[in-house]
Symmetry: C2
Subunit: 182 residues, 2 copies
Amino acid sequence: MNHVLKDSVMYSYKMAVLSKALWKSVERDWQAWIKPFDLNLNEHHILWIAYQSDGASISDIATHGVMHVSTAFNFSKKLESRGLLTFSKKEEDKRNTYICLTSAGKALFCETMSHFNEKTYNVYQGTLPIKELYGKFPEFSELISVLRHLYGNDFIDQFDHQLLNFTNELEETEGKLSLNPN
Amino acid sequence: MNHVLKDSVMYSYKMAVLSKALWKSVERDWQAWIKPFDLNLNEHHILWIAYQSDGASISDIATHGVMHVSTAFNFSKKLESRGLLTFSKKEEDKRNTYICLTSAGKALFCETMSHFNEKTYNVYQGTLPIKELYGKFPEFSELISVLRHLYGNDFIDQFDHQLLNFTNELEETEGKLSLNPN
């Protein structure tokens, strides 16, 4: 048997199991977190992306939420029917649909944030020993390098940019939004 | 806002999106690979685990396949009804159900292996630049460390052990099983 091919099967299988294990843990903890708010994971993710980039298009939501465009559209529709966001078109771009959170949508999203409890988030807990050892969160540079190949540099760069925006936003809303101190 | 808590939300969100992105890519490529064999991903994973550890229990399948016990059981039942595996009890352990691949099950699994094409497996392709740079596959040691926390040392150690077994098995079946050279 071709040696290179055997290595590629083994490596691909290893990555399949490890990435499944990681995602399933994240998914379980995320679901438990938002359970009290009658939101599923896609709906919460849409609120999150819309919160951190006001006026995101459905296509942006799909890209940054790693979901199909139809999934992004259908769950956005559900959130719209609950009065949590509104759809609009831009004068200069009639093809895309943009979404904006309503004040009820922003309030609900902030409420979910205030219920985040890092003690129930196992990926975070599992990283603490590394953080204590090196004094900072791991960068997962190999993983990021693979993801740059999979989704393009824009995906990672825009993700970092949005994360930074969101950090600033969280600082601005200090006082308005108090995260669960436990 | 509590600074530590803000960091924990941001880090957890980052890990959520990155792990989702990685898994969705793996899932898509895995599904495309096994599509011609009328198997879903759980079914193929069950065949894989059963192939590399003959006489695995349903509980082993669930653990190593990162699936619910009921998922492992239900899809194993489907594979049994297709004549691809058999259920049995052990004399010394009547509580657990063990599964063994039939020769048809082994043949089908080997056929799927012979159709693996690393050019369609994007996670593998995305790793090649790292492999060329460092001369070996990345070890993802930070990721493995987090997974050891999430699933226990046994999960990782047994996974490595099974992977080694499987490599040896692939070497033994050299000649019998010819992977797609393209």
